[in-house]
């Protein structure tokens, strides 16, 4: 299996505080990885490093054959291949849902407007909000907004999708609709790295689960093994609290 994302001895500091300590992680094509761990353990920072929203200070990150560093010229090109869904949705509130979805394809990938709109409508249909296409983000519920954000990311036809706690800001009854959309995406064969506390989702979808604490990867195991037979004490404690 060829690795599409490779992280070797990645270290990162915020000032004096070390957020990431010697992270080693390989993600193969079409693999689904769930990252979990207590808050403040560096999960979000880890996946934000993968599309260089955060810069790592030591180590190597290679995404689809390109190494991320200060010398990386076309960081935009790499980002265009890596979609991301955020905890706070981060839709553009001044644009309609459809415009949110077509903005980047039109201006970054230079897709003709008509084609971009057709493709966007297809993506919106996939997440079942095509009837909301002309509304503005402020008029949608949280779950709808998050699905729109997912559709927006997919409109760039990314090779990799990153999810940064996509359901943490949602009301309980809306979590399911977002998770369903993510499950569908996983079944379609997308490479996914998901930071989440939804263990049910992890059990259903993930190939591997990564447990992080204090900036380190404490445990990394196949999903069944991770839940049935955790090795590390901290993992056990965490699972006992969350399940």
């Amino acid at each position: 299996m060829s690795a599409i994302i490779q992280m070797k001895d990645v270290n990162k500091w915020f000032g004096d505080f070390q957020v990431l300590k010697d992270i080693n992680l390989e993600v193969g094509e079409k693999q689904k990885i769930v990252v979990c761990g207590p808050s403040g353990s560096g999960k979000s920072t880890l996946i934000r490093c993968i599309n260089r929203l955060e810069e790592h200070q030591k180590g190597k990150i290679i995404v689809d054959g390109n190494e991320l560093s200060e010398r990386t010229k076309d960081i935009e090109k790499i980002r265009a291949e890596v979609g991301m869904v955020f905890q706070q949705f981060n839709l553009f509130p001044h644009l309609s849902i459809l415009d949110n979805c077509t903005l980047a394809p039109i201006w970054v990938k230079k897709t003709p407007k008509k084609k971009a709109e057709d493709f966007a409508m297809k993506q919106l249909e996939q997440v079942q909000i095509s009837d909301q296409a002309s509304k503005f983000p402020g008029q949608l519920s949280g779950g709808q907004q998050q699905r729109a954000a997912l559709a927006r990311a997919l409109c760039m036809e990314p090779k990799i999708m990153l999810f940064d706690e996509p359901t943490s800001a949602l009301d309980p009854e809306m979590i399911k609709e977002v998770l369903d959309a993510m499950v569908n995406l996983a079944k379609a064969g997308m490479t996914m790295i998901v930071v989440t506390h939804e263990m049910g989702f992890a059990k259903e979808v993930a190939d591997e689960v990564v447990f992080m604490d204090e900036g380190m990867i404490v445990e990394k195991a196949k999903t069944n093994e991770f839940f049935a037979n955790p090795k590390n004490e901290r993992t056990k404690l965490f699972l006992s609290q969350i399940l």
Binding site: R48, N51, L53, E76, K77, R79, A80, E81, V82, G83, M84, F86, Q88, F89, N90, L91, F92, P93, H94, L103, A104, W107, V108, K109, F136, P137, G138, A149, R152, A153, M156, L162
Partner: protein, 424 residues
């Protein structure tokens, strides 16, 4: 305690109290009205102070008597809630009503009934007690066009009509032309405006006689200076706002330096510098027109303020917007153009309107370098030996003019706020 209770209505006796209360308030207002409009004081038999205060006391007692929560009468409830919710506010309400009634007759008399607008000389106003609008009438052309030769005023009028019609192009743009509107207003329109003003108002070619900018003046000059001030200081301010938030130290420090310098000096100094000092630094044979220098000075000065207003909007945007734009593969300029600036500018419409209003009202300062826009012309007319003593009329005229311009701008900014409101 009993005394206070007498004035306190309850549900049962409210009808009676309401009737008495309203009568008392009405009596108070009526008394002031008679005193003010007809000089009748039917309470003159009372001691002086009581005579003076009686309407106020009547009103207070009356308002006290109708103050009841949820009386069931809609109008009374509104009044109680908004202007009669305690004795202090009731007093303020009465005070304002009385002052208005007292101030109306003298000001109306001065402005309209005793005023004069006929005749063409000061002599027509000699016997007049009120305002002498003749003065405004005679000087109106000067107030509008300054010292611009009378026979060429049509050139200014035509120029402004053409400018306004070009400004309305945006309303008729359809389909794919809409995408180019920003480009049109930001770049093409200013160039068209400059060319029109240069060839039509300045003249010198196409058989039009050259009129030098010293002769320009009055309201038309106010418009020209404000217009160019507004359209150029906005993009410049935007660039410096982005510059100040740039990650590149050189650009950031240049922007900070620029903004702090121009915010730190008074406009009047800048204007003096532009007209007196600046030409000294130029090579001997180059010449930059005074009006151009003054407009440039105003633009540079106001751009610093606009920059800070826009920076406020940029900082109000959550970091997630930048993250989302970046994660979609947008570079710096695409992110700013399509995601950040549209939102930031929408947020700062009130602040920008504020700065623009201040700019329009600052234009009379160009008087210090010898350019006379409408207030400057007023100053000139006021000191004209033939027309001494009518400063008041002039200033009221200028105040009304500026108020009308600024109010229109303010309404327009409110309209824009509504138009671009898509969230919250």
């Amino acid at each position: 305690m009993k005394n206070i209770n007498i004035l306190k209505p309850n549900k049962d006796n409210f009808r009676t109290y309401l009737f008495i209360g309203i009568t008392l308030v009405f009596l108070g207002v009526f008394d002031v009205f008679l005193r003010s409009f007809f000089m009748v004081n039917f309470l003159s038999f009372l001691p002086n102070l009581l005579n003076f205060l009686l309407p106020f006391i009547l009103g207070l007692v009356g308002l006290q008597m109708i103050r009841l929560e949820y009386s069931g009468v809609k109008l009374v409830d509104t009044v109680n809630k908004n202007i009669n919710n305690n004795i202090f506010n009731a007093g303020l309400t009465l005070f304002i009503i009385f002052i208005t009634i007292l101030a109306l007759p003298p000001s109306l008399n001065w402005m309209i009934f005793d005023a004069n607008i006929s005749g063409d000389t000061k002599e027509a106003c000699v016997a007049v007690e009120g305002a002498c609008w003749t003065y405004i009438k005679v000087w109106l052309r000067r107030f509008m066009y300054g010292m611009y030769p009378n026979e060429f005023h049509w050139r200014i009028n035509t120029a402004f009509i053409i400018l306004i019609s070009f400004a309305f192009v945006g309303f008729f743009a359809k389909g794919k032309f809409k995408n180019y509107l920003t480009f049109y207003y930001a770049i093409i329109y200013p160039i068209i405006a400059f060319l029109i003003i240069y060839f039509l108002i300045s003249g010198g070619s196409f058989g039009l006689e050259w009129v030098e900018t010293n002769a320009w003046g009055g309201l038309s000059l106010t418009f020209i200076v404000s217009f160019f001030g507004l359209i150029f200081c906005f993009p410049l301010g935007m660039i410096f706002a982005l510059g100040r938030r740039s990650e590149l130290p050189v650009i950031r420090y240049i922007s900070i330096g620029y903004i702090e310098f121009w915010r730190g000096v008074p406009l009047i100094t800048v204007l003096f510098m532009s007209s007196v000092m600046f030409p000294m630094f130029l090579p001997a044979d180059t010449f930059v027109d005074k009006l151009v220098r003054v407009v440039a000075a105003i633009v540079l000065f106001e751009a610093a303020y606009v920059a800070e207003v826009i920076r406020g909007g940029l900082q109000a945007l959550p970091r997630g917007q930048y993250d989302a734009a970046k994660s979609l593969g947008m570079g710096y300029w695409k992110m700013q153009t399509f995601v950040i600036l549209p939102q930031a500018l929408k947020l700062v419409i009130p602040g920008i309107a504020n700065t623009f209003l201040a700019l329009v009202k600052d234009t009379p300062l160009i008087f210090v370098v010898g350019l006379s826009e409408v207030v400057g012309m007023l100053q000139m007319a006021k000191t004209n030996p033939k027309w001494l003593g009518y400063a008041m009329e002039g200033y009221i005229f200028a105040a009304v003019l500026f108020w009308a311009i600024c109010y229109a701008m303010s309404r327009y900014s409110q309209y824009l706020e509504l138009k671009y409101k898509t969230d919250r």
